[in-house]
Homo-oligomer: 160 residues x 6
């Protein structure tokens, strides 16, 4: 049990003590996919929605959600986020890829911020398109890359 | 474009006007899965974590997140949530299933609240176990069932 | 266990389902006391602090905290608060009494809102005076009276 | 003093009791202007910013801010907002006009929500353009129209 | 477009990366005015409102709003605010001047915090007096002075 | 009045300027007690509630509340909390003791975070048990110990 650091020796939750760690530059990149009808993705991407507003709203929601991470995930530390960037791309027929890149200098890393950002971006896309495609799903919310801190550089192995 | 009600005739975002709709009883049920190493799921479920605290914290986070939905998803209406229940179960080797059931009486439905609840539950499980299993992913965030309102009863077709 | 309605038959937390209940007018009155050096209370009450700003800030904090109750207490329902009033009085040497009166029309009662209001009022007084009296304590946070709803009128028995 | 209903007979703040009022349909329309260098407004409006993202972000911020009103303005009641629409237009050289239209059914009106929305929209425009035009100002934040409730229909007299 | 740093090369919003900047002491001073009937301002200032509670509530709201800035303005960085002071003064007949002074040590400046503080102070004054003077407006929300950081000292030129 | 640092020379509230202070390691420990029927405490502690969920929910609420402190207490500074631990124990018949230990590195101390955590933990216990014991009270919310910063180590004198 010693390896699940969010739980003390009796299995109770705690916010892990990072007070002894140094502030270092850290970055995290997370991804998520939204699976939908190809025609829904076409509407979002191909211009029948002037100004791309679905993705613009989702991007803003994602950036704001990154800043809410420690209010949503109980044991997360509040972190001084220095940068958030959100990318959307088409990953296949009816498959929207979302990526978030978060940077900061702190005693602990930014992966939860990046994961929260892509999750809320995906849910915002769902919310704005659900009237035409209720069966959409948000999937593959995952950490893609992480650097800084004691655990060093991590790059997710590509899916087979 | 008329069918994407979150966008007006010029493609700009707006909070859809529900002021003319009646308050009716509504419920929504959403699901998500967390994919992880089988040994991680065993630690969560099989008693090596006394008191099951990972799931207890994730359940509390999910309930509180449901109440934050309209602060996270830009075009969601604030809703007077009447009930939230969260269930966890094992859906397979290294696969944790999360379900949220949300009920309320309002002018619009509860699906975003249920989807937000399972997403944050999944991210909380990730956060509490990431030290031992960084490659975990949250997947299949989807609406399972929905009732109440003009659009009637919806049940998601089973995945093939 | 059936009588602890926040826990289901397996002891797990849930937000109690109030969707079947009627909206009725409800009110709750809660109290708290702040115990401090008599000279600290004198500074707060007797005019050496022009404009009584400690109590004014504490009153504003209490009203705002009542509106945050469902974001702080995990299983509380969000409620459409219709009125909050905060009273301060001297209950004895070095003893400040705080009372909150909350009214609303909803499916469930306002006692947690009133209790949260007086707690935060007390903590705000502590915060503003701690530089001169670190040993202050907030005590006797309790429900004084409650009306509306199925459980009927409740008045706390006077302390002996 | 009786006419300043947010203050009781002793001048202390309180959230005005609306528990005896009926739920009625209400709407409010507010406006604000952002004064800037004409070249800054041209950049925002005339296409040198592809996709109009400044206004899209400001619109999203405004809608989300409307939902935060009761958490920002101490004596505001939490209200079940049913609709928010935000409009931007050019009101003159270097003058951006912002309008918010808020609708809801409640015991009290939506004017603070509309005023908060346009204020935050204006500040968001400032934030996104301040690197090129630090002397911008947000001005003329005002209620334009209001309907519903006991006080009846209000239309602001045109500025001379 | 390169000069609008909140937008990337394709015009999409992002939170500007400040991770490479040093933490330095910064301060910002912003102002706003509330225009109202002279008799309304007299009620606020001249003692017919015992204890000056309108301004006390507005001051508390402004300080709390400064701390919410990064939750309201989408691309603002969360900052460790070290000090907020709010001043009210009479700027003319029926004209209330509000000033906020914000200090902090961080990688980016405090101007949005100061501007948010005075905006919410103005809206709070409106809210508390709107029953007697619905035509009040908040105007001239502007940065007065700013120091610290690479861009150096800024003092707004006096209005003519 | 000079000794009440939250008030300026005219008695008005302000967030005390800590911008000139150094970041140092700080910790604070606070306590609270919940007084209830002995049979209620037995239900919470002695296993008739499988998995101890009341305390698990209260612990999660306390940790999350610590992170909300500066949003609740008007003049508190936002602080980068590095650790929160919550302990529950039986302090006597029908008397539950709650302790919070908060650590961080900042320009000002963590005592309000620890006090807020135990207060919300106590209110959460009340909320989850109020259906069986409405007369419960939260009492003795107090600072137990504090270290770091200019004012040095503080240990509360034991109650007589």
């Amino acid at each position: 049990m010693a390896d699940l650091t969010h739980l003390d020796e009796r299995g109770r939750a705690r916010m892990v003590d990072v007070s002894g760690k140094a502030d270092t530059a850290r970055s995290a990149r997370a991804g998520a996919r939204v699976r939908m009808e190809p025609s829904t993705l076409d509407k979002i991407l191909d211009g029948s929605l002037p100004k791309g507003d679905v993705l613009s709203v989702a991007r803003t929601a994602a950036i704001m959600a990154a800043k809410q991470t420690s209010n949503l995930i109980p044991l997360c530390h509040p972190l001084p986020i220095a940068s958030v960037e959100i990318e959307f791309s088409k990953a296949g027929d009816g498959l929207l890829e979302i990526e978030a890149d978060v940077r900061l200098t702190a005693k602990t890393g930014a992966e939860m911020e990046a994961l929260t950002a892509v999750s809320i971006a995906g849910l915002t896309v769902y919310d704005m398109c659900k009237a035409v495609d209720r069966a959409m799903s948000v999937t593959d919310v995952r950490l893609l890359e992480k650097s800084g801190g004691k655990s060093g550089h991590y790059v997710r192995e590509p899916d087979v």
